[in-house]
């Protein structure tokens, strides 16, 4: 809600009709004479060569999958192979006009797109550039395999490199483009602009939008194409990606010189089926997919249906749309129709379509038609084409032979997976240029306001100060963000209400004044696309900070957090980095859908760093750590804590830059008799419990704030338990499946001989969160901790529990499932 735009009732209440531009369908008319002039004969022949390469490559895989053999090379490939036989013209046509700097992100069916984009780049790159890229990539491992074979020149070698790198990846080999860790559905080769292909339907849409944001915000050349299936138009995140890409602010509010809307093209490769569901007439209602553009913006996304069976029609459309995108007038939607002759996968019995239908398309086969086009128009003679075909078969056979042989192409060492889960390469700035800011830090009104506050929660006499007078948790977060915005020019932040509002919890207040629109902006209410675009932004080379207003909204960004942010570093074998911080605010007071602590859910997902500071000192030190890192961080904050001051560190929150050591739990209060470990705001309830244990029973409790969920150094906790023998773990996460059970289980194993009782976990009830006034029945309270100690660890003399924390009640709750 920018103040600069007025919502005028006079305007919005006026009657009228919405008019839509016409959406063209298959307007391209082939004109051989014109085409020979426009593209040149060599390129036209090259189109056939590329299409034929894809056809042979996919045919090879089909034979391997269905017959266990290709041209005498036997192999049993157990993994997936979603083939695109029939769709070659769409891939080659799409990539023909694209530059090396243009990105395409694909789907599970993208072998053809990898080859087409890479071959297109090979055409455009110099020998030197090609050689340098191949030598550098994965330490030259891929090149080493193909270099030993015969080749004519660098381009020939580069083609072999692409064929082999892709196939070795599909077969899960160490010299594959992603060391075999991605496989068929995720293979890609970033140096040539073939970006991650995604096995989640539509998964590429918001990632592509993020990549386009990266290009626009950082003034990079090139466009970004999401090559996704027609059926993905039914996916929410795809719509979210479109909405995020079509925000009017790019043209109205962002600085003009930034260049307008992010250059993103949603290229729906419309083969009319989503697996077996027929989008045309059965599972969707648009009839013509291109119609969807009409619902998005006045330009109807410049939508068009393109005849994908004609490579030149596709190339023509791409060239025209690329210009629109470069002019900042995107986004663009293409409905590129095509047909896969092959099944969804080799196990597909095609029960959902008739043989007649497949035959109809075979009669229209794009490869055969284009061959005829070349012959009929004298662009190539039959012998030329046959020589070309022969050459392709030889190359594909060579790639197959090399990729199948285990002695030539061994599997990756399993340690590679462990080593690539995190990149762990902190960097002050991801590009070396002056960050774009509007004012100096000293001029910042928030900075000036904070300067008047106490860095500590207490005054010099140890008296607690009013919350208005202290540098609070939210201020500490602000300082970390402001610091990095002025250090790293690529850093950008977006989410809901991030700009003028200052974030729903005022963390960003003061940033609106400091940063131009393209570094801090409000996103559509599209949690999936907010995180997904962050993923795309980060893997393209920028530092993204995105926000989920409430932890509960994480479900809306499930795939983006669970499958995308977490996995791409290792699925790319470390080729990609993921400097993405997802700020997640854990709520309270607002009931069941606004109060959940879902730290345990992300703790379960490999590949995420998870942090949850509970004090202003830690908030700043940990956000500093996260914002300098190269890994995806789910950064939890607590709405109970935004206004508290620093109570533990003498002198309060340092003004200068510092980082909290990664994974290190912090002893907030030393003790000798028992250990209480907390995550999040429960720290303060644990301290109340510790006070009561001291006052009533003379017990000295050691209170440790884990701070980190992953990575987590268990040593300090084990050390404490060795001393005390007793441990209670508490957080606001629901008890069942709480990450604290994982910690407790590990403590049992690492400190078993020192334990004087079982580690006891105190979590929220396995209920919905009730109204604020009843929250003490849901979230762990001081009494729960004391009662748990009494019932399960150390009976306290004369204590009368006020809550039920017995072992018997655990069993009862589990029987009832609550």
């Amino acid at each position: 809600m920018p103040r600069s735009l007025t919502v005028d009732p006079k305007v919005v209440r006026k009657p009228g009709v919405v008019t839509c531009p016409e959406i063209p369908i298959n307007v391209y008319k082939s004109d051989p004479k014109h085409e020979r002039k426009r593209f040149g004969d060599e390129l036209l022949r090259r189109v056939y060569y590329d299409m034929y390469t894809i056809r042979e490559f996919e045919t090879m895989l089909n034979e391997i999958k269905t017959q266990g053999e290709y041209r005498g090379i036997a192999y049993d490939h157990k993994g997936p192979a979603h083939l695109s036989i029939g769709q070659e013209s769409t891939a080659v046509g799409m990539c023909l006009p694209l530059g090396v700097e243009d990105f395409i992100f694909g789907s599970h069916r993208s072998h053809g797109e990898i080859l087409a984009k890479c071959y297109s780049a090979i055409m455009k790159l110099s020998d030197e550039a090609l050689e340098a890229t191949m030598k550098r990539y994965l330490g030259g491992d891929t090149l080493a395999v193909v270099e030993r074979e015969q080749y004519e020149d660098i381009r020939d070698l580069a083609e072999n490199f692409v064929l082999y790198g892709t196939l070795a990846e599909i077969f899960g080999r160490n010299a594959g483009f992603n060391r075999g860790l991605g496989g068929s559905m995720h293979a890609f080769f970033a140096p040539f602009g073939s970006m991650p292909n995604n096995a989640i339907v539509g998964g590429s849409a918001d990632i592509t939008a993020g990549a386009a944001l990266f290009k626009r915000i950082n003034r990079k050349p090139g466009i970004c194409v999401a090559s996704i299936g027609d059926a993905s138009s039914g996916c929410g995140p795809v719509w979210e990606a479109i909405m995020l890409s079509a925000m009017e602010q790019y043209r109205t509010l962002w600085p003009e010189d930034v260049g307008g809307a992010p250059p993103v093209l949603f290229n729906f490769i419309n083969n009319f089926y989503g697996m077996g569901g027929q989008t045309a007439g059965e599972t969707m209602g648009f009839q013509v997919l291109a119609r969807l553009g009409a619902g998005v913006n006045p330009e109807a996304m410049h939508a068009e249906r393109v005849d994908g069976y004609s490579p030149l029609a596709v190339a023509d459309a791409m060239e025209r749309k690329r210009e629109i995108l470069q002019a900042g007038k995107g986004p663009v939607l293409l409905d590129t129709i095509t047909y896969r002759i092959s099944g969804h996968s080799p196990s597909d019995a095609s029960t959902y379509r008739t043989k007649d239908e497949v035959e109809l398309w075979q009669q229209n086969d794009s490869l055969a038609s284009y061959r005829a086009y070349l012959l009929d128009n004298g662009i190539a003679g039959a012998s030329t084409l046959e020589a070309m075909e022969q050459r392709v078969v030889e190359k594909v056979t060579q790639a197959c032979r090399l990729a199948v042989a285990l002695e030539v192409s061994p599997r990756p060492r399993p340690e590679v997976i462990e080593q690539t889960m995190f990149s762990n390469e902190p960097a002050d700035r991801l590009e070396d240029r002056e960050p774009e800011v509007l004012i100096s830090r000293d001029e910042n009104p928030r900075v000036q306001q904070i300067a008047r506050k106490s860095r500590s929660a207490y005054d010099q006499n140890g008296r607690e100060l009013s919350k208005m007078k202290v540098v609070a948790y939210r201020d500490a977060l602000f300082e970390a963000l402001l610091y990095r915005f002025y250090e790293d020019p690529t850093m950008a932040a977006w989410g809901e209400e991030n700009r003028d509002w200052g974030g729903a919890f005022a963390v960003y207040r003061g940033l609106t004044e400091a940063l131009p629109y393209h570094r801090l902006f409000n996103a559509s209410i599209s949690e999936g696309a907010i995180v997904g675009s962050g993923v795309g932004y980060a893997l393209s080379g920028g530092r993204a900070v995105v926000e989920l207003m409430y932890c509960d909204f994480m479900g809306r960004a499930g795939d983006e957090i669970f499958n995308q942010a977490s996995k791409w570093q290792s699925m790319s074998a470390g080729v990609l980095q993921m400097p993405l911080v997802v700020r997640v605010s854990v709520g309270s007071k607002y009931g069941a859908q606004h109060s959940q602590d879902w730290t345990s859910i992300v703790a379960h997902i490999p590949g995420l760093k998870v942090m949850f500071p509970a004090t202003p000192y830690d908030a700043k030190g940990m956000l500093n750590l996260a914002l300098r890192g190269s890994d995806p961080v789910i950064f939890f904050e607590s709405q109970r804590l935004y206004d508290i001051g620093e109570m533990f560190v003498e002198g309060g929150v340092p003004e200068s830059y510092y980082e909290v050591p990664e994974g290190l739990p912090d002893v907030k209060r030393s003790g000798t008799d028992l250990t209480i470990v907390t995550i999040g705001a429960t720290l303060y309830r644990a301290l109340e419990a510790a006070d009561e244990l001291a006052e009533r029973w003379g017990l000295s409790a050691e209170v440790i704030d884990a701070r980190f969920i992953n990575p987590l150094d268990l040593d300090p906790i084990v050390e404490s338990v060795r001393k005390t023998g007793k441990i209670v773990l508490a957080s606001d996460a629901c008890e069942r499946g709480s990450f604290l059970h994982t910690v407790a289980s590990n403590i049992s194993q690492l400190a078993f001989d020192y334990l004087d009782g079982p580690p006891a976990v105190v979590g929220s009830r396995n209920w919905i969160t009730p109204a604020f006034e009843m929250e003490d029945t849901f979230f762990p309270q001081k009494e729960w901790i004391v009662d748990t100690i009494h019932e399960r660890v150390l009976p306290l003399e004369g204590h009368k529990p006020s809550t039920v924390q017995t072992g018997g009640d655990i069993a009862r709750r589990y029987r009832r499932g609550v």
């Binding site: 001989d753 009782g757 009976p795």
Partner: protein
Amino acid sequence: MATEVLMPRQGQSVESCIILEWKKQEGDAVTAGEVLCEVETDKATFEVESPADGVLLQRLYADGDEVPVLERIAYVGAEGETVAAGQEPAGDRDEDREVVGSSDEPAGAGDSAAGTRPEAAAAAATPDSETREPQAGRPEGRGRVFISPRARDRAERAGVPVELLTGSGPGGRIIERDLDSALAAGTVATRSAADGVAARSGRPEIEASAGTGIGGRVTSADRAGAVGAGGSDRTSGAARTAAEGAAGRETSEQRLTGVRKRIAERMLESVQGSAQLTLHTSADARALLAYRSKLKAAGEPYASITINDLVLFAVARVLPHHRGLNGTLEGETLRSFGAVHLGMAVDTPRGLMVPVIRDADLLSPASISSEARRLAAACRDGGITPDELSGGTFSVTNLGSLGIEVFTPVLNPPQIAILGVCSVEPKPVYAADGEVEHIASMGLSLTIDHRVVDGAPAARFLQALGKALGSFEVLLSGAEPVEE
């Protein structure tokens, strides 16, 4: 059908025996009368013979296992024969499996498992309140102590038997603070007791670094190995000093077995189970010493008759006139005997043993002497039979030869009196002329079970014995003394 081999009952009071060593392996051919294994009672070792010709089909217990008498310990049968289902060991199957299973474990673990068996059987058989009611540290009865790993570890280090701790943790679990309060209350065992506890529990303390488990953790195998090696260095604990590590100064540990274990139980049972009172006096030893000199001068066989033999003779002759002390108390039955079967304490390498001289009241000093010598030798070489070790009506123990001037003998239950013979020392007495003179005097310490023997009759016996010793040659006349 296979023939069962039973653990024989060797004597009335024997309840169980420990298998010292199997002489035959499963599958070995055996003939009737061939030794299958050597077993040890609390009092003696003996051999178990094969009851039939054939093959040793199955051994039901391992070396070191304690087995109740008349329990099956093995089967002998034809080669290839299998033991029928009904022939499996008696009693609850699960429990037996537990014992048999644990028998395969190394010695330390096996022994403690065998030790739990009678308890487990009792708990299963008698649904009394004691085994059913949750107790401190024993929430589920069956003798299992529930104790946290931390408390157990610290108790072992401190040498506190966990059985003596009371659990205050959840469900009665013994936790660290229970040990702390026991320590504060002073119920801590001494260091030597700590050694004993460590040995008795079969878990001698081993430094963590000595463990072969993951992370240097001490596994049961480490513990068994330490026990099997006949005790290990006590390498940790507060009491350890640097000098202890020097050669010849190591602390050694031993598991209590056989005779020593039985002695320990009997002694504790004796002290805890009766009201012991010891009376001390002394007797004029001049006549005794003079007679002994004469015997010595007479040469063999008289020279072998010792002072102790002569005291035994005197006791055997005086005792029938003080029947209140020549008896046993078993339960609520008090027996007093006309005959004197005299127990005599013998020091052996395996510990104290008390063989019995039958009908001592009928024997001459020479017969008593030769019988005493025979029995002592049998005790020392292990050939003593359980029956020679039981049936005593009164016992005599002699520490006088070791210079002990006075002591308090411990009753040998179910006997109700025991005489301790002390050293001969000069004692000042008033001579007839009123002057003080020193005479040779023998100390006598008589312990009685005050539940059934009063002080005065005991004193009268001592008085009579003193008089008999003081005029020993008169006693030799065989004349009946006149009751006073």
